[in-house]
Symmetry: C2
Subunit: 442 residues, 2 copies
């Protein structure tokens, strides 16, 4: 029995209640009595459709996040088919705030997977791959902006470049594992580069959005002030990392002595939200602080929480992420306007961005100094933009300059399409580049 | 070294950043740029103070929730000491919605701990204890209302009665465990009665709030219509339980075949939110549906999720509860107006309600038909009102009739004080009633 047949057999059973929920919002007199009711309805639709679409994506060898994004695009454009009931979801403030918490928890988790030591220990090849893999796509993205959006300000062009910087290597790691190469040199270079990439990407995002926010509030522009703002962003990240490294052992050894349920999770989330808030106060995106919080926390801080330590924290964060991250991805998908995407401009922009994204990451392979490394595999492995590209696009959609959003509906839809295509093309390209090679010994 | 000395030694270290956060809200130009910033600040203060105060309560042999409540009262009344910065917390819509989700997740978890079979299997003593333990406090609370709030409508009096119905046996279970009697007859009767109590309490809450909502929207009152609304509430719960029992095995066996991360949690939360939403549509509090959802889910539905099944779900819900439930309890505490509480009316009301709560539960022991049972221990064990009483009070504060809230500031503060006192007096009374008895064999 093929995967699609099995899926079809039971999907309708679980789809029925979702459809009922989506299309019968007006059955009650009391709706609105409790302010949580609309949110509860949206959450049911989001959770069930995210899990169903995520399943379908996984069955097709794609990451679940791709399914969640497509579920969001479908839900957000149901009105075009004359199906009402979910129009309020995109603009619901509570769905929005849950999706923001979802991204913060997600980036905290990503940060937890690396430590500051991992970054200092990364090899020279990884470092060069990361720097080239951020700089070249940034430049290419900027150029695509100048070429296809000539009437927009340089801020828009710079922001387009920023959305091309980040790499999301989850899908690459999965494919390498599938073909038995997860312990090869290529995998080590890619994963090392991904850690640096995340940081460089966040610094670029922080600098670009800092410059835009400053310009919007009337600060005079020029190379000097812009460089100063970029330095501030870098300074916050560095300062948070240094201060955090000194303060964290104290906070967490104190926390270890507290009794009660969920102390480890509570103190860790408090720390993550604190840095997210400080990051926001510094004019940066809160995710920068969340990522820094995760980076600061190292296994040694959790010695006193028993033998499992940081793994226990990661395990307890996962349910929060499993609940809140789909809210973000479905919401991001729902904001894609299919009509805007159908325009020739959007298609051209999406195509050009995708080419820039793919070509930009191929330049990475020039940074490999080790011998005997499959350069194509490294270049292809760095292609997927995934969640980080989306997060950048959503931040751009929230920034305004001269009264219009930096990332408007057409640009936003094109970026989402670029993220989806880069994710879709990676597994076949990576498998092709590695075909005929022996699996590395475990 | 005594517990208080040890606490003092390290509390300031972790308190410093909390104070900094609370009192320096205006340091940045960019605050408000990201809509999540105020929420992030409140969450840091809530999580850190909840875990610190919860720890202090546990050290003093009290449940953590009592500490969280006191932390909330302190945070909510800091402005009286001239300390600003947290005034917005009580009315922040995002804090409010997270606390609502917290209660829904909490009640879902409470429901998961029992199954419909547990309820059908409960002994005759437990059943009688539960019925008397709900009916007598309900009547006494109503009478206290008539006596001390003669100018209020009967709705207020009925609601006061409803807040006295529920039992929160967590603290009792803990004390029985400490004195080695957790497997005695008393423990079995109390825990059985608590399950029935939760359901009867929710039915009373649903009926009373349904009647009030109907009256507020202009429905003619009388014994007939009121009975009809109460029947509707009961009908919803019964209908949800019956329909859920038939549909759930299908939904969850379908869910078991889905791939991807967090499917079990996602589908379960979706189910919980669905019933909460339906419950809200039916004019009931969403927690009624959340509790029903937990009650419906039985270990057998999780067979296909591996050997651990429902325990895995409970384990994955716990981090959600550990994050969101303190938001509810701290927020509930922060809504207590210390000035309102200091008035003679509020003190008299709190005292009278506490006496009614304690005396009402002593009547339970008349329902015990088994021999050789320590009736005092059962009566004392049923005293704590805990979180359910608070949830009822918060629902009453949200209901309006004739333009004023059913539970106004003075009544609300008195109910919170009653909940705190009943929780505080239980351990010593219970230990005293059991002193001199042999521990039951394990």
């Amino acid at each position: 029995m093929g995967p699609s047949m099995r899926r079809n057999r039971y999907a309708p059973r679980i789809l029925f209640p979702v459809l009922l929920l989506a299309f019968l919002p007006g059955i009650a007199h009391a709706a609105g009595a409790d302010p949580s009711l609309p949110l509860l309805r949206y959450l049911v639709v989001i959770l069930v459709s995210a899990k169903l679409a995520g399943h379908a994506a996984v069955r097709l060898g794609q990451p679940a996040v791709l399914g969640e994004l497509i579920a969001g695009i479908v839900l957000g454009n149901l009105a075009l088919l004359g199906i009402g009931g979910l129009e309020g979801m995109e603009t619901d403030p509570y769905v929005d705030i849950l999706s923001r918490l979802g991204v913060i928890v997600l980036l905290f988790g990503v940060g937890l997977e690396s430590t500051i030591r991992d970054i200092l220990d990364v090899g020279i090849s990884s470092l060069l791959v990361a720097v080239l893999g951020v700089a070249v796509p940034f430049g290419l993205g900027w150029m695509v902006g100048i070429w296809l959006l000539p009437d927009s300000s340089s801020f828009v062009h710079a922001f387009l470049g920023a959305t091309l910087c980040a790499t999301s290597v989850g899908i690459t790691a999965r494919v390498l594992q599938d073909v038995g190469r997860s312990r090869g040199k290529e995998a080590r270079i890619i994963l090392g580069a991904a850690v640096i990439d995340d940081i460089l990407g966040l610094i670029i995002l922080a600098s670009v959005s800092g410059v835009i926010a400053a310009a919007a509030s009337g600060v005079k522009m020029g190379v000097g002030p812009q460089l100063w703002i970029a330095l501030q962003a870098f300074g916050f990240l560095a300062g948070a990392l240094i201060l955090g490294t000194f303060l964290t052992p104290r906070i967490f050894s104190t926390g270890a002595r507290l009794r009660g349920s969920g102390v480890l999770l509570g103190i860790s989330l408090g720390f993550c939200f604190l840095l997210s808030w400080l990051s926001g106060l510094a004019g940066l995106a809160p995710i920068v602080g969340a990522f820094a919080a995760g980076l600061i926390l190292e296994p040694v801080h959790f010695r006193q929480y028993g033998s499992r330590g940081i793994e226990e924290l990661e395990e307890k964060l996962r349910p929060l992420s499993d609940f809140l991250a789909p809210v973000f991805f479905v919401l991001m998908g729902s904001k894609v306007d299919v009509r805007a995407l159908a325009s020739p401009e959007a298609m051209a922009l999406a195509l050009a961005l995708t080419v820039a994204a793919v070509a930009g990451k191929q330049a990475c392979s020039l940074g490999i100094v080790d011998r005997g490394v499959n350069r194509w595999a490294v270049g292809f492995g760095m292609i997927p933009r995934g969640e980080v590209g989306l997060i950048f696009a959503s931040i751009g959609a929230g920034l305004t300059f001269g009264g219009t959003p930096v990332i408007g509906p057409v640009t936003y839809s094109a970026v989402v399409l670029m993220v989806m295509i880069t994710t879709l093309v990676t597994p076949p390209l990576l498998k092709w580049s590695l075909s005929g090679e022996e699996p590395t010994p475990p």
